[in-house]
Symmetry: C2
Subunit: 452 residues, 2 copies
């Protein structure tokens, strides 16, 4: 019988995260203060983040040690398994070798806790008693709730109101881990109250929820803020996934020809590919292909300009250089809520701009079709976000079938879809549609880019 | 750092299931034909099950080889990890060593696919094209849907109507894996049509759904029937869990003082404890304690008589000797739907009657309290069924705290609660209640035991 599951031994788990900033051919463009438009310094971030995370954000050390307490927590679900998708390969009748690294076995069901427990740890170390954050569909909020439970830190989650009522189970998960979760806009902040005064029925938005969480953190001495993607230190923590994948592939003498993952803020996929990108940058693996997959309806990397823009809708967050559709752009309501972000992690944008990675946009219906093929062969029902990556992995495997090439594909499988079954139901009932590239709305939003 | 996760290497996975029937001090009392009341023969079961499963049902071979195809499928999620619950131990401040074997990482999220893929395999081997089954809350139906997808067998699931509408996501899971799932009572069977003629608004019951699935299978040449618990061959397949646990404990030189699990039909817990029970029967481990945990509201093992009774409400299923509350007993609506069965696996009943294992009943509120303690320390949010076992594991660990004994506890953790968050929500909102032991209803139901 052929092996299909490859897992590191606990003793071989990574003990340091990999920091791509040590190896970038050019440094990242600096982030800017949203008010002064001057390069951002540690003092600008100190009200929001613990100093250790601010240091990680700008560090150029190649490896940053993972504290023992975090390594111990990782062991609750790490190392995660790398699978050889032999049943999928057979279903596709492809000579390609498809591997997938599966993050769905963590308590919240995705890669998110890799950074949530790390962020909670550093906050705890610096005496922080309480963390405020925002969440859209609830994936990040539940991961940080879990992180808070690990260290006895109070977690307050501002959850976009429409999701709070439509997706109650992620909220209950947060409460089960002890967090407080309220619908945004709320009465708890000025930003929320102002919005409710204008529009009592406002359904909320991620941008507004960010504003509430940031205001909460900035206005209380005992509270910091936490973000679940985009920032350099978040991507850093996620490299534990790619480091594990790389080591276990080494053990079986394999190396990917291409790595495929979905990108919303970008932390899941960057966490997988950055340790491999090192080999492309240093010339060891010049032909390695890295494919970022995004929705056609929110085509940040494939259609946006590379420009300075705000990270949030309200213009309170730092200005960063990234591919962007404009901070005011509201994408169509595709089910992959985690991919509906106007911008993208600056690190991913930078390496895309340098030509080191590529990007591809896919339509919603085709992603669910791929997700169902995957579920019926490999068993796992993936999150709609992840199904975007599965779509492209299948496409590439089918190209191999045509060309006869036995390429090795590494798929970043970020999590399960247990809280997204309503989306599968809509797809199976023929109720979903594809959205065209929303050119007019993007052109409109791009007029509002900040002048720097 | 101390290890907390222990996983067998793929090469050490069990290659045979363990059959307790080889080692029982007395053989099981025979099952009886529901009509003739004579001991059941293979011919009675042939319309419903493939011959290989009928053979396994009565086999006294100690080990039954796991076919390669099933071993390959097991590898999609097996071996599952054995965890040392160090964070829970710390939270309880107990000297007890708590280990838990976690089955929640399988595609459907529980132990159920261990037998679902095996049953689908044997049906496939014998040319069966289609399998009919019933499901209550959907845990078993989704596992068999997954099993059907693995072998290209059509699966028809009769899902209790009230659950079909209240818990739509398990149904969508089944559909995602390609199964057909309809609400029971349905127009597809005489049993269903008769009931709908009498009561068009009938909410359905597990007993009625069994009748529909059995009628479906018995009336079609291409179709067999499948059951997800209770039967000897189902428990046999589940021993893969206990065999893994035993081997990995051996590797770290540990052996449990007690094993604790929840029981509805009994297959999950029996799968864990049977390979250890062997050591108690042969005298190697005379002091091993095995604690079956059930709800106070459905106290089959703790309050029922050991008597011959029907396996289903309608009296179509075989008559077996078991602890029973009467086949007409309808338990109060506790959230642990998988534990609401009037009877229990004959193997468990037999070894309880022989004094080899013990049983304990717990109240609903206390199980959720335990589940939340577990979630906040170990991360995993368990199924409400599993929380029953967690409750007793915590109680025993707290007894160790009092006595100062460092006992080793093995907890059978059967699965996650991702589809049960509504139950947690009700608990957290203070909406749940404890149910008293429903003595009058049980006494009433026990009047209807069949005369044999």
């Amino acid at each position: 019988m052929e092996r299909i599951k490859f897992t590191l031994e606990e003793k071989d788990m990574p003990t340091a995260w990999y920091n791509i900033q040590a190896d970038l051919p050019e440094p990242l463009p600096p982030a800017l203060n949203p008010v002064t438009k001057k390069p951002l310094g540690p003092a600008d971030l100190a009200p929001l983040f613990p100093m250790e995370l601010i240091k990680q954000e700008v560090s150029t050390e190649r490896y940053i040690e993972i504290p023992d307490e975090i390594q111990d927590l990782y062991k609750l679900w790490r190392p995660t398994a790398l699978f050889r998708a032999r049943r999928l390969e057979k279903a596709l009748d492809t000579p390609a070798k498809i591997y997938y690294k599966y993050e769905g076995t963590s308590p919240p069901g995705s890669h998110k806790p890799n950074t949530a427990v790390a962020q909670a740890y550093y906050n705890k170390q610096e005496g922080v008693k309480r963390i405020a954050t925002e969440t859209g569909a609830g994936q990040w909020g539940s991961a940080l709730a879990f992180g808070g439970a690990c260290f006895g830190i109070e977690i307050k989650v501002y959850m976009v109101k429409v999701s709070y009522y439509q997706k109650p189970y992620r909220r209950v998960m947060m409460q089960t881990w002890g967090a407080t979760c309220i619908p945004s806009p709320s009465q708890d902040t000025k930003a929320g109250r102002d919005m409710l005064a204008k529009d009592p029925d406002c359904p909320g938005s991620l941008g507004l929820a960010i504003s509430e969480a940031v205001e909460d953190a900035a206005s209380r001495e005992d509270t910091k803020y936490s973000l679940g993607s985009v920032l350099n230190h978040v991507l850093l923590h996620q490299t534990v996934v790619g480091l594990e994948a790389k080591k276990v592939l080494e053990q079986i003498d394999a190396y990917p020809d291409m790595i495929i993952g979905c990108v919303g803020g970008g932390s899941n996929f960057a966490g997988v590919f950055l340790p491999f990108l090192k080999d492309k940058i240093d010339g060891t693996k010049p032909d390695l292909r890295i494919i970022n997959v995004e929705p056609f309806s929110c085509p940040t990397l494939t259609k946006g300009p590379y420009a300075y823009d705000f990270g949030d809708v309200a213009g309170l967050a730092p200005i960063v250089k990234m591919y962007t559709l404009g901070h005011g752009f509201i994408p169509p309501p595709v089910h992959a809520g985690g991919l509906r972000y106007h911008g993208m992690a600056p690190i991913i944008c930078h390496v895309l701009n340098l030509g080191l990675v590529e990007a591809r946009a896919v339509h919603q219906l085709e992603t669910f079709e791929a997700g169902i093929t995957f579920a019926r062969s490999e068993g796992i029902i993936g999150a709609p976000e992840t199904d975007h990556a599965v779509r492209v992995a299948i496409d590439e495997a089918l190209k191999c079938k045509e060309s006869g090439e036995a390429k090795t594909i590494l798929l970043a499988h970020s999590g399960h879809g247990h809280f997204d079954m309503a989306a599968y139901e809509d797809y199976l009932a023929g109720k979903l549609e594809n959205y065209e590239y929303p050119k007019d709305k993007i052109d409109e939003a791009l007029k509002e880019l900040p002048k720097v």
